[in-house]
């Protein structure tokens, strides 16, 4: 499994990548889950959400992805009537935001290690705690700054359709 593209979070005025997928809980709790097209080994879930914290509340403010029928997914695909902003009240847990330079690259999920991890703890979509864990110092000054995925295999929609036909 390739390292996965993170969800985007606008946090304290910066856009960062996070190694958590709060929308998974929505789907697990019975929320409507459209069929996303899998087009890339670095994006098994088939979508990327953009999140924002306003007044300690977690909001989903954007969703990009492609559906099985070829149409583009938006926020309204999942949350009808809410095209701009969705309060993530279903989310209780801890978001992990890697910071600093990469110490170790792991070619799987969100396994890579960075100099720091910022953990934001939420209860019912409301921020209740924040802590930072120091993981060490990257020995190589050329190593990657901030979370990212180095490479991936991208499938064309045609290739995907052919796979589905088999």
């Amino acid at each position: 499994m390739t390292a996965q593209i993170g969800e985007k979070l606008i946090y304290e005025g910066r856009q960062v990548s996070m190694c958590s997928e709060p929308l998974n809980q929505f789907f697990a709790l019975g929320g409507a889950c459209p069929e996303f097209e899998f087009t890339c080994t670095a994006l098994w879930r088939g979508y990327v959400g953009t999140w924002e914290i306003i007044n300690d509340r977690l909001y989903l403010i954007g969703l990009t992805g492609t559906l099985k029928d070829g149409s583009e997914a938006t926020l309204e695909t999942v949350f009808q009537g809410y095209p701009d902003r969705v309060f993530a009240h279903w989310y209780s847990g801890t978001l992990r935001i890697p910071e600093g330079r990469q110490i170790e690259y792991v070619h799987m999920g969100y396994g890579s290690t960075y100099e720091r991890d910022r953990f934001l703890k939420f209860e019912k979509g409301i921020l209740v705690g924040c802590r930072v864990r120091e993981n060490g110092t990257a020995g190589d000054s050329n190593s990657t700054e901030g979370y990212g995925v180095g490479a991936m295999t991208v499938f064309s929609r045609r290739a995907n359709r052919e796979k589905g036909d088999q």
């Binding site: 009537g81 809410y82 902003r85 969705v86 209780s92 801890t94 690259y105 070619h107």
Partner: protein, 191 residues
Amino acid sequence: MTYLYWYLGIGVSVLVIIFTVHQLTKSKQEQEIADLIAAFDPNREQWWWKPLNNFVMPGLAAAAVVAGWPVALYWKAKEMIEARQPPRTEPPQKKFEVAREHLQRQWTIAEVEAAEVVLDPLSAVPKAPFGHLNPAWEVFKQSIAEGDQLWGFSTVWEAEWRQNELREGYVIMRGDTIGPYFIARLTIISE
């Protein structure tokens, strides 16, 4: 000394055989995965990476096979035998169930719906029980029949990848039988 020459000679033969077998049996997919992993190595831009990866490491591996060929032979034989055996099947994932000891207290539908209304100052949620999860609640509510009791539950469940989750919600009790449930909150406990 003759024994040493014999030992090293056998080692070289073993190296040639293992290399040939590997070349004949490796799949294209394995090579692609290896290439992809190599492409991700953050050190690949360093001047020493190519000579180390392409010459030094294979050279050391070859020397290790020649020097310790009985071990290399054992591992290669083990690998080939294991490859022929049917793949091990993972035990089926346990299905989540609510047990009697998870029950907390009895609720009425009206109490639940009053307690679970979600409010948001930016109006980014329906003003309804369970907010964006209201459609799922409405489906669950249809399972509640005359005479059923509604109970709240809370339990820690070990989900996939040994991830512990606090699962809280409501379950239908039919007499002494535990019926359908609705998970209202799912909190991942371990980071």
